[in-house]
Symmetry: C2
Subunit: 534 residues, 2 copies
């Protein structure tokens, strides 16, 4: 496709915010130096005993935050250790790893910051956690926490991914390296620390809190509905003014991008086998048989090739784009502004790329990022995958895929259209195994949480980029869609990078006055809670 | 493609013999009970010391073979142990495993059967072995031996692949299970045993022997030329009447298929990377970037799809089929005969298939097998290949391929045409890394070795199926092509199965009078040597 035709194709599409993808919040750390208290099961406190043993909380909505900020400074090492300990306890749904331990840790942490009610919510696969902190306040905020992390390949890491390691990053400061550092234990830990800092300053939170936590975010949140749609959880959420996802929102230059939503996603495997196809072999056979036998691997390749244009960029699935909402004038204005304020050269360097798709301009690349649904190959696995070759005709081949969805697409509709396409093109035998996914999510720029976060950023000297929709995904639809229709925001000063990648990090001590480290991140959440209460 | 068009497409093609693919011959066994003799380096004899210490050989060309056959019966356990010990010492070129040990074992074995000259032949990668046994006979026979084996996945095996295990196979007899059992240590061990049995019967072999051995057959024999084209090896081969590859030629019903050649092969990897392409990322990035970035994985899929028709069966590479020699009338007659004598239902069951390509008839499937070049996907490896999914846009994807070639195609020409096709279709950046391969090989049905093997089969009550060309490959072109132009045959009674597959086996003691076990296989080679000498 030429740049011109790509450009005109853009007009049919929509736009989305940059990659504040998926964040998660779990507290694994155990401080072995603290005593065991009977009401916190058989283990030690995560937070300082001084906080847990603080005097009865007194109501205090005075927005003089200096004493709380002093408390945050004082407890810096404690809050850092909390995040470090959390990273040491991975929860990885795709590998069924650390689910119970991570869930227990999540529950303990919520108890220790003052939640009176902490309930484990079983689902058809891995559990979630529901918790409430009733501060007797007139308003209530919901907080979404993912407490799982993405898989790792330790060989790609400079330090062991589950051994949180402090490192100096020139020009940036001291960072904490580990899986989950930025996605999302660092930012989530900062929020928990903020609630803790209030408590250890003998204050009640200025708003009540409702926590909805899940352990399956990284496999596409297949059972989040089973947590959120519980009557007790739904009832609690109906009282909320909105939903917060704690995040590290600052880029390397200190800028912040405020997303008004996120793409939906479907994760699935396409599996081609001789058995299901009824052609080709049911087991791997010698490759010389290709002359007389069909190949399930070729069958998969041809099915894949039918999904997109020969450049791999334009989706050819029938009616797949029918529900794609056109980019609005307001969204176009946001994209224009973002294109001016972002550094294209730096971004290309970070991504390791020389060209955008179709050789479009930076502004157009941003519009595509916001507005275009995608069909992506995450991985290919078929036949012999070891060193060198092996002369077999494999009986099975698999493509691991993700589909990103924009409004008004839905996960179930996208999946149905993909299946219908494969059936119509002669690939109906190929198994389409959806492993997770959900609809897109959107929040109005006029909602209270968005206005509040914007005000806080500005008070901190940051003019946020407002962005229609992040290109990554989170299951915000369970909050923003029917029946709750809550506004949902990602918020938090601070910086990190490497989500889903090696050497993921979260900034702890900043050398750059434009970027906040851990203390600034914690402070920003204290500010948010008071601002929402006001 | 409809059956009709497939059928007419057949007329442009040629035909080949069934799957007596790749065979190998190495003797790893060490008999720890024997004494160490100074001239056989520092290790014990592989064969019985009685044989090694036999009196000076006397010339004896009398074709009364009974004493030799008695010797074979007597030494059955010894010859079985030889093959068992050989299996215990794997040589796997693709994994750089056991090369030195396998080469030393090969050389010791050749010394012990009486070769006066045994020379290690270094190549640019793994070595070969050249050996001569001068029996003072007027005629000389060359013997090709591969002493490497295919890789294994032990989890697929019923017993450890390098622990040779005797098992009872109902209706068949006692089989030896292990990697290399039939491809090719069993049949090659039977040939070595035949030479040994002559020696231990105080006879000289009736023909001189020239051994050409390689350790890279399973990676496509990339350096076989560097062994065969040595002046000393070429000089020795020029004196030969032909080349023997010891094989287990009997099917489950006792029938034998005599191949008059084999397809050539090219093994290669197609590697698509963002780095080489200059598009897409240079490292794996978050999959949400698909909206603005090209994907090297999609690029590979589209390149693959360009190579064949949508059913995966018809090659679309420009001019690829130009040199395919039409099937001759003689070959068509052979195929007609083979189709009548083979059991289609049994074969389909063994292969785990319900249909041939294009739903052709059995007869047509055999013609395709003989005559059609193939482009096969051995394996696909790209991006995330572990359990579940991982939302990345991979920077690299690989397809492991093999191309089977028929006369008058050549490996270098097929490779060049593949590269030219990719370049012409916009995939010139995709690396084409050939790891091994060679031209097709053909031998005249009128040559002496073919006539002799046919006579021996018939004397043993077997009417062999004569087959134009086996669909698997071996590097016979180094012998049958310029400048040597030697006839080359695969010969040997006996049966085995599972080459390149789990639970590979070789029949040791047959319950079926129509199929020979190890003793019959050894005897058949004694017969061959005398018949060739006559």
């Amino acid at each position: 496709m030429s740049p011109k035709s790509a450009s005109s194709a853009l007009d049919k599409l929509k736009l989305v915010l940059p990659d504040l993808d998926k964040r998660e919040l779990v507290v694994p750390g155990l401080d072995k130096r603290r005593g065991v208290l009977p009401e916190v099961d058989r283990r030690t406190f995560l937070f300082s005993a001084a906080a847990a043993l603080a005097p009865a909380l007194k109501a205090d909505s005075t927005p003089d935050l200096k004493p709380v900020f002093t408390e945050i400074e004082k407890r810096h090492a404690e809050y850092l250790r909390l995040i470090q300990d959390w990273i040491r306890q991975p929860t990885i749904a795709a590998e069924n790893k650390g689910i119970n331990e991570g869930t227990e840790l999540m529950m303990r942490m919520l108890r220790e910051i003052g939640c009176q009610q902490v309930i484990k919510c079983p689902t058809d696969l891995h559990p979630g956690v529901f918790a409430t902190l009733d501060a007797g306040a007139p308003k209530t905020l919901a907080v979404y926490i993912m407490y799982d992390v993405k898989q790792v390949d330790p060989s790609e890491w400079s330090s062991p991914p589950f051994t949180p390691t402090l490192a100096d990053k020139p020009g940036l400061g001291k960072v904490l390296v580990g899986r989950g550092a930025v996605n999302s234990k660092g930012p989530e830990g900062a929020f928990l620390a903020a609630v803790h800092a209030l408590r250890s300053s003998s204050r009640k939170p200025p708003v009540n809190l409702v926590f909805v936590c899940e352990s399956e975010e990284e496999i596409g949140s297949p059972h989040i509905q089973q947590v959120v749609r519980r009557p007790d959880v739904t009832a609690a959420l109906q009282k909320c003014m909105g939903v917060l996802t704690p995040s590290a929102t600052q880029a390397l230059d200190g800028t912040v991008t405020m997303s008004l939503g996120a793409k939906g996603v479907v994760e699935l495997e396409l599996v081609s086998t001789g058995e299901k196809w009824g052609r080709g072999p049911k087991l791997d056979v010698h490759s010389s048989n290709k002359a007389r036998l069909d190949s399930p691997a070729w069958h998969l390749v041809e099915a894949l090739a039918s999904l997109v244009s020969p450049d791999g960029n334009t989706i050819l699935v029938d009616h797949y784009l029918d529900k794609v909402r056109p980019v609005s004038a307001a969204e176009k204005a946001m994209i224009d502004e973002a294109a001016k304020r972002q550094d294209e050269a730096l971004l290309k360097k970070q991504l390791g790329v020389q060209h955008w798709v179709h050789d479009v301009s930076f502004r157009e690349s941003l519009e595509l990022l916001c507005s275009q649904p995608t069909i992506n190959i995450e991985g290919l696995v078929g036949g012999y995958t070891g060193p060198g070759g092996k002369t077999i005709l494999p009986h099975r081949a698999v493509a691991k895929m993700d589909l990103r969805l924009v409004p008004d697409m839905t996960a179930s509709d996208a999946l149905a259209k993909l299946k219908a396409h494969l059936a119509a093109k002669g690939f109906g035998d190929i198994e389409v195994n959806m492993t997770g996914g959900y609809d897109p999510t959107s929040t109005s720029p006029d909602s209270l949480p968005v206005r509040v976060e914007s005000a806080i950023y500005k008070r901190n000297g940051i003019d946020p980029i407002v962005w229609p929709r992040q290109a990554g995904s989170w299951p915000g639809y369970v909050f923003t869609g029917e029946p709750l229709k809550l506004p949902a925001v990602h918020f938090g000063l601070g910086h990190g990078n490497g989500a889903h990648a090696p050497d993921e990090y979260y900034l702890i001590e900043s050398d750059n006055p434009k970027i906040q480290g851990l203390n600034g991140a914690v402070r920003s959440h204290v500010e948010l809670l008071y601002e929402l209460a006001a």
